[in-house]
């Protein structure tokens, strides 16, 4: 029997479930602007914001700012990984070293990275370096903590198995411990890249910038170009969301054995 229209729609419903929330959100927004509940200067209509987003991303300067932010975020993330992963493995594989530095790492991990801006400004000057360095610093601590944790919680039996088969200390580290720490490392990298994005955006707002999404948000706010501001906010949101999605899918593919 051929499914009826209603049945097809019903079958489609669960698949589109994530969209319904977004649709309701846009609808409420649209109603609010068309009823002028909120000053239209402060809250432009969804259509105006979407137009600004589309225009900016397809030939306008939003794309340029977007790519600048992506570059800074990824650059600081790569620096963070390069420092934190080897260091985390070393720290995690020695109980003594880890206990000695645990407090320091935990302390700076809990320190808001934005509180470090002035210090980094002194160290690196006003410019590109500072933004990337602060973001890398924040991300590195999160990644470091997770890698060390993953290494410490590596399954002892797997390490023993490698040892009994003839692996040296270094061999156990590279053949087992490194892999065992992978799932936790990925958790750290996911939080790390999100944090790097947050710090880069804030840095673009306040540390003399000429481009980037953060700078764009604050500039459009100052000249009261609200559609432009919302467009930049959405671009930043989409960037964060996509980075998370990207890392989740890499994680699923790469650490397929996670939890097994």
């Amino acid at each position: 029997m051929k499914p009826t229209w209603a049945e097809r729609l019903a079958a489609l419903f669960p698949k589109l479930a994530p969209l319904w929330g977004a649709l309701v959100f846009v609808a409420l927004w649209w109603i609010a602007t068309s009823l002028k509940v909120i000053d239209p200067i402060l809250l432009p209509s969804p259509a105006d914001s979407a137009k600004a987003l589309w225009k900016g991303m397809t030939g306008g300067s939003l794309l340029h700012d977007f790519l600048r932010t992506v570059t800074r975020t990824l650059l600081s993330f790569i620096i963070a990984v390069a420092i934190a992963v080897p260091l985390g493995i070393v720290l995690g594989s020695s109980d003594k070293i880890y206990r000695a530095v645990e407090f320091i790492i935990d302390f700076f991990r809990s320190t808001p990275a934005s509180a470090m801006f002035p210090l980094f400004l002194v160290l690196f000057g006003v410019g590109e370096k500072t933004k990337i360095a602060v973001a890398a610093f924040g991300a590195a601590l999160v990644i470091l903590f997770n890698v060390a944790y993953g290494v410490m919680n590596a399954r002892k039996l797997r390490q023993l198995a490698a040892k009994v088969m003839g692996a040296s200390r270094v061999g156990v580290l590279t053949d087992v411990t490194f892999w065992e720490s992978m799932p936790q490392t990925f958790v750290g990298m996911r939080s790390g890249v999100s944090l790097a994005l947050v710090i880069v955006i804030v840095a673009e707002m306040f540390i003399g910038s000429t481009d980037g999404l953060g700078q764009r948000v604050i500039n459009s706010q100052m000249i009261f170009d609200m559609p432009e501001m919302y467009a930049s906010i959405f671009a930043a949101g989409a960037l964060g969301y996509c980075l998370n999605l990207l890392f989740l899918s890499i994680e699923r593919k790469f650490v397929h054995w996670g939890g097994k």
């Binding site: 009994v164 088969m165 003839g166 692996a167 892999w179």
Partner: protein
């Protein structure tokens, strides 16, 4: 039946020529444990423990809970440090000896980031073999076990029995002088256990690798063993060292032969006597 073994011992003989203070051991001995001592905190698990493991035989280790069955093979295989004493393989130290070890927990003993075939190949990287020789070893191992396992899958995609099979193959692929097994089948169901016993025996008959099998199942311990090592409660020493020489391959019918029943009943009696001791 035992001619090849007797011949071997005639050739090698007791290593009485080695450095002096080794106590005597019978001809055909492969592993000698002397003066083994192990304490955990204030409790003494082993004190001056001596044991001879004959060459080319399968020895089951059985005893009360907590008597240190696994601890014994873990000390022999170097997983656990010993407080005093020595373990020699043909008079050599452990580091000069190729061993294989099969863990009870196959799930955690396999490397889930490697496909089954690469798990199998892993220990070969510590041997100085050419690529062709390594491949030949893998092929030989697959042929020996007549496995119907898709080795290109990841371990967690295989059943428990299949995982443990791969783990046994991984232990045997280096052609070990001694094979240690710590309750290898205890996480498997009875049907799978019987199948694995059959496979293990087949491999054992082909290679005659000296094997130490820790078991908590007396039927399994007797069914597979040439000798059953019965241990006392701690401080642990040997309660009895029972021979069982039913011909191989032994199948489920062996389980109802008078000899099997007698050896199992005797072992059970020794075991219960030990358990009931104050």
């Amino acid at each position: 039946m035992n001619t090849p073994i007797d011949l071997m011992s005639a050739l090698t003989g007791p290593a009485a020529t080695g450095p002096s203070d080794h106590r005597w051991f019978p001809p055909g001995t492969h592993i000698t444990v002397r003066g083994l001592t192990k304490r955990f905190g204030t409790t003494t698990l082993y004190e001056n423990f001596d044991l001879d493991i004959p060459r080319g035989q399968l020895i089951s280790i059985f005893g009360p809970n907590g008597c240190g069955k696994s601890t014994l093979i873990n000390m022999m295989s170097g997983i656990l440090p010993i407080d005093a004493g020595e373990v020699l393989f043909d008079g050599k130290a452990l580091r000069d000896t190729r061993i294989g070890y099969v863990f009870q927990n196959y799930r955690e003993a396999m490397f889930p980031w490697l496909r089954a075939i690469d798990n199998l190949r892993y220990p070969l990287k510590f041997l100085k073999l050419s690529k062709a020789e390594k491949n030949a070893r893998v092929e030989k191992m697959i042929a020996r076990f007549d496995v119907k396992i898709d080795l290109h899958r990841y371990p967690y995609e295989l059943s428990g029995g299949q995982q443990q099979m791969v783990s046994i193959m991984r232990a045997l692929i280096v052609d070990p002088e001694v094979l240690f097994m710590d309750e290898p089948f205890s996480a498997l169901d009875y049907e799978m256990t019987l199948f694995m016993r059959e496979q293990l025996q087949k491999a054992f008959m082909e290679t005659r690798t000296t094997t130490l099998l820790v078991s908590h199942d007396l039927e399994e311990a007797v069914h597979l063993a040439d000798k059953i090592l019965l241990l006392t409660r701690k401080p642990t020493h040997i309660a009895d060292y029972v021979a069982f020489d039913a011909p191989r391959p032994r199948d489920t019918e062996t389980l109802s032969t008078p000899e099997f029943v007698r050896v199992k009943a005797h072992s059970l009696e020794v075991f219960q006597r030990e358990v009931r001791k104050p």
